[in-house]
């Protein structure tokens, strides 16, 4: 394995029962970089993220994180590795029975023996980094979508992980919150020396902040490159995706019998 890649995915396939979601994916995430995995809904990109996080195991091929094969890890090994990972869930997944402060302090209290005074300083630093030091007493139900996402980001980076996984960090946000989250992902990655994997379908925001992009469609990687290469790409799928065109390699119509046949417009009736 190469020391410069934190994540290496070798010819990985995955199926939910009979339904094959990923079909032989190869993908590398270099240390210190922000890499986006893009694709339409249901293309298998979230499955890929769950494979990296060890929530599911590949049916074929190997996923390695920091040199460790995820399929070979037992629960203890997996938990040891996860202590060095953070994950931002699509809607934050904050613990609703705890305040913002307690959410960020949660892992510190669970995994370390730090005194409460030190935890307090660390939590305030983390919250300050996402601009929400003033919201520490709020309950998750009192936060807007964007604020909840920022608290979740502070929580995901609470123990200074080596890797942060983002599951649709931009979904359902207004343009300002979207820009804020995008910037935070980039800034935290560089300031804390993290490696980030962003799963998203928000092409414009992610092209502004990431170092490299993989496009997934129907379980295979159909294109990859730096944001610059992607913008210039003339591959039909990438073009359709980046420019949001209605029809193309991803057809507008769900497969159906011929229209004329469905409307019974055969020659005799027309």
């Amino acid at each position: 394995m190469s020391a410069e890649n934190l994540i290496e995915i070798d010819n990985v396939s995955f199926a939910y029962g009979q339904r094959e979601v990923l079909k032989g994916i190869n993908l590398n995430v270099p240390r210190g970089k922000v890499v986006a995995i893009m694709g339409g809904s249901g293309c298998g990109k979230t499955t890929l993220l769950r494979l990296i996080g060890g929530q599911i195991k590949s049916t074929k091929g190997e996923v390695r994180v920091d040199g460790q094969a995820m399929n070979a890890l037992d629960q203890d090994g997996l938990y040891r590795l996860r202590r060095r990972m953070g994950m931002l869930f699509q809607f934050g997944a904050l613990f609703t029975d705890m305040s913002v402060y307690d959410n960020v302090a949660f892992q510190m209290r669970e995994h370390t023996d730090l005194p409460e005074t030190l935890i307090r300083d660390l939590v305030l630093m983390k919250l300050d980094a996402v601009g929400l030091r003033g919201a520490r007493a709020f309950m998750p139900s009192e936060l807007s979508g964007g604020m909840a996402r920022r608290v979740a980001l502070a929580r995901a980076t609470a123990l200074d992980p080596m890797l942060v996984l983002y599951d649709e960090p931009f979904a359902g946000l207004d343009p300002i919150s979207l820009g804020v989250i995008g910037n935070l992902i980039r800034r935290l990655n560089d300031a804390l020396g993290l490696t980030s994997v962003v799963v998203t379908h928000d092409v414009h925001e992610s092209l502004n902040i990431v170092d490299y992009v993989y496009f997934v469609s129907e379980g295979v990687i159909v294109a990859q490159g730096t944001p610059e290469e992607i913008r210039k790409s003339d591959k039909p799928f990438v073009h359709q995706f980046v420019h949001g065109e209605m029809d193309g390699p991803v057809p507008f119509h769900y497969p159906a019998p011929a229209y004329t046949e469905a409307l019974r417009l055969e020659a005799g009736h027309a």
Binding site: G53, Q55, Y79, R82, M85, A93, T96, H111
Partner: protein, 264 residues
């Protein structure tokens, strides 16, 4: 004809396999909960916090119901006993009915609908909003951190709630029998004291409520943990918790009563 009966047979077979699978899943979940209880006992604060939510917040409904059940027992008991001229035994009747049966059983039914449904809904929603997955991704076992403290809180709360239900019931019986109707106070209490045996009656009642506590909390936790992560899934799971717990309490009560009070 042959094909139809084959289909019916295979349908029955499938249901039996499903039921056995679910029983195995539930047992495994129970064993995992017990095995993952270390954290709860090392950090007893986790259990105490849950005792507040399951036990303390159920107190009002338990105490009020206990009072009314005791008052009804006082009225009905007096009606029947006075026919035989033995209304002085009213205290015994009220106390034995409560300590042996009504205390553990009614408290458990109320516990299942008040605390059990809340536990299922809470855990089901935590699952639906990915909070349990988030915990797993933080390398924290949700069974140890979320399920086990709630389990022990339920098991500890249940006998205490049943005891308070019975105490309140006896007080209700006293209010109606002695204060309102005018049964002799001395014989009400003294007959109760001599007839109620600590081991045979009180201890058996406590054992019952302990078993009901395990059953109700286990069912509530399992239904929540296993709920499909949708609004419909959580609402279905909450209903199942109340129905299954209630049936389990009544069925277990019969089994335990048969074992404990065999005409001795």
């Amino acid at each position: 004809m042959l094909r139809r009966s084959a289909a019916a047979l295979s349908g029955i077979g499938r249901r039996v396999i499903d039921a056995v699978w679910r029983l195995g899943y539930a047992s495994r979940f129970f064993a995992l909960t017990l095995l993952s209880s270390g954290t709860s006992f090392r950090r007893i604060g986790l259990i105490i916090k849950e005792i507040y939510f399951t036990g303390v917040l159920s107190l009002i409904i338990i105490l009020v119901s206990g009072l009314f059940v005791g008052m009804v027992l006082g009225l009905q008991g007096y009606e029947t006993l006075q026919t035989y001229g033995s209304e002085s035994a009213l205290g015994v009747l009220v106390a034995l009915s409560l300590v042996r049966e009504l205390g553990p059983v009614v408290a458990a039914l109320l516990f299942a609908s008040r605390a059990g449904s809340a536990i299922t809904a809470e855990i089901g929603l935590m699952k639906a909003t990915e909070q349990l997955t988030a915990m797993e991704m933080m390398a924290i076992d949700p069974i140890a951190r979320v399920v086990a403290p709630r389990f022990w809180a339920g098991v500890i709360s249940m006998p205490l709630l049943a005891a308070m239900f019975s105490a309140m019931g006896v007080f209700g019986g006293y209010l109606v029998g002695v204060v309102l109707i005018g049964v002799d106070e001395g014989s009400f209490w003294s007959q109760m004291q001599s007839a109620v045996d600590v081991k045979h009656d009180v201890l058996n009642g406590v054992i019952k409520s302990f078993v009901f506590g395990i059953a109700c909390t286990w069912i509530a936790l399992l239904e929540g943990y296993d709920a499909p992560p949708t609004a419909e899934g959580v609402s279905g799971a909450t209903t199942r918790t109340v129905v299954t717990s209630s049936l389990a309490v009544l069925a277990l009560d019969f089994v335990l009563t048969a074992l404990m009070f065999r005409g001795a």
